[in-house]
């Protein structure tokens, strides 16, 4: 989903170019546009939680270190923040959740990688092993992300895309995509094994890992039903693994 960012600050622009290297394009088309207004401070509570709401078709995003607005109709918006990479990262994640929800997709707390032309997702809370499974990925696996997976629904099924949203590994995913073949719920244990789980449990686990920001009834409804649609079409299993390379023999 092409995003266009406009800023009058060349240093900030350079920082974005470095941060999103591999995800840059010369394409004039964009589905999301933002003008970034850099300010020094001015936020009343730097530790305030994110708050996302919709009023008359306009999304309003507020957090301790930024505020932003975005219109789905015009696909344009603005961000007011200090010159740091984290605020714009947060805004882009949030807006992508809003756009994807309308299309049957979502962002998921999970690592993901492509192997043999198929994408595999590895979901889990912090400490479950997303970074570890990413670090153990063999050379023939292409890492899409070690932290937040990008899931789109297409006419042919679900597709996983690479993202520049990094976790502890601090390594950008590759800007590629593939059909999603499986979602694994990560658990660490004494041996490597894959166990199928019932769809109800799969749906609960999926919903627990989907990124939700908006306090919006319609969006909650659509994401809820998208999760059930996903588990009805994509196999979900529990992947228990010892932190060693052998676990990847079970994948792909």
């Amino acid at each position: 989903m092409p995003v266009k960012i406009t800023t009058s600050d060349p240093q900030f622009s350079d920082m974005l170019v470095n941060r999103y290297e591999g995800f840059l394009s010369e394409s004039p088309n964009s589905e999301i546009e933002f003008d970034v207004d850099l300010v020094e401070g001015g936020f009343s509570d730097p530790d305030a939680d994110v708050h996302v709401s919709q009023n008359r078709g306009q999304w309003s995003l507020e957090c301790g270190d930024f505020c932003a607005e975005w219109s789905p109709a015009s696909r344009r918006g603005w961000i007011r923040q200090s010159a740091n990479p984290y605020s714009i990262d947060a805004v882009l994640r949030i807006v992508h959740t809003l756009v994807l929800a309308r299309q049957g997709g979502f962002l998921l707390h999970s690592a993901s990688a492509i192997r043999n032309g198929k994408a595999f997702l590895f979901a889990g809370v912090s400490g479950a092993g997303k970074t570890t499974i990413s670090r153990l990925a063999p050379a023939d696996a292409t890492l899409l992300t070690d932290e937040i997976s990008y899931v789109r629904k297409t006419a042919n099924g679900y597709v996983g895309f690479g993202t520049p949203f990094t976790g502890e590994l601090a390594k950008l995913g590759e800007n590629v995509s593939a059909p999603i073949a499986a979602l694994y719920l990560l658990a660490k244990g004494p041996e490597n094994r894959i166990e199928p789980i019932p769809q109800g449990e799969a749906a609960r686990a999926l919903l627990a890992n989907v990124l939700f920001f908006a306090e919006d009834q319609d969006l909650v409804q659509s994401t809820f039903h998208s999760a059930f649609e996903f588990v009805s079409r994509v196999p979900v299993s529990r992947l228990t693994f010892v932190p060693d390379n052998d676990v990847w023999e079970l994948i792909g």
Binding site: G200, A203, L207, E215, V220, F224, H225
Partner: protein, 105 residues
């Protein structure tokens, strides 16, 4: 005890899967999984059928329980679900909402 009527809150999303009813609050996206009794209550909560009839016709035949005890438990359960914004509880029939967003699938 006065008659009570219960209705599903149309602002929640609900799905039944593998015999489990899962409900997500439209307010704060909290996910609930209902037990068997709560599922029966949820499915029968049309706003028009009194709670005592739901208990007599739907809950008592499922469980070996005294009707009076079952009604008391069902009222407690209904009020608990109402406090979570999952159900609406009223002493009068609750008209159907225009929105069908919470319709079961």
């Amino acid at each position: 005890m006065s008659r009570l009527y219960v209705a599903r809150n149309p602002k929640v999303a609900a799905r039944s899967l593998d015999g489990e009813m899962m409900i997500m609050s439209g307010r704060d996206s909290t996910l609930f999984t209902l037990n068997r009794t709560a599922t029966i209550l949820w499915q029968a909560a049309d706003g028009a059928t009194p709670l005592n009839e739901i208990v007599e016709q739907r809950i008592c035949p499922e469980f070996d329980v005294e009707p009076a005890v079952a009604l008391q438990d069902a009222e407690t359960l209904a009020r608990d679900l109402a406090s979570q914004d999952i159900l609406q509880v009223s002493e009068n029939p609750i008209p159907p909402k225009m929105s069908l967003a919470g319709e079961m699938r």
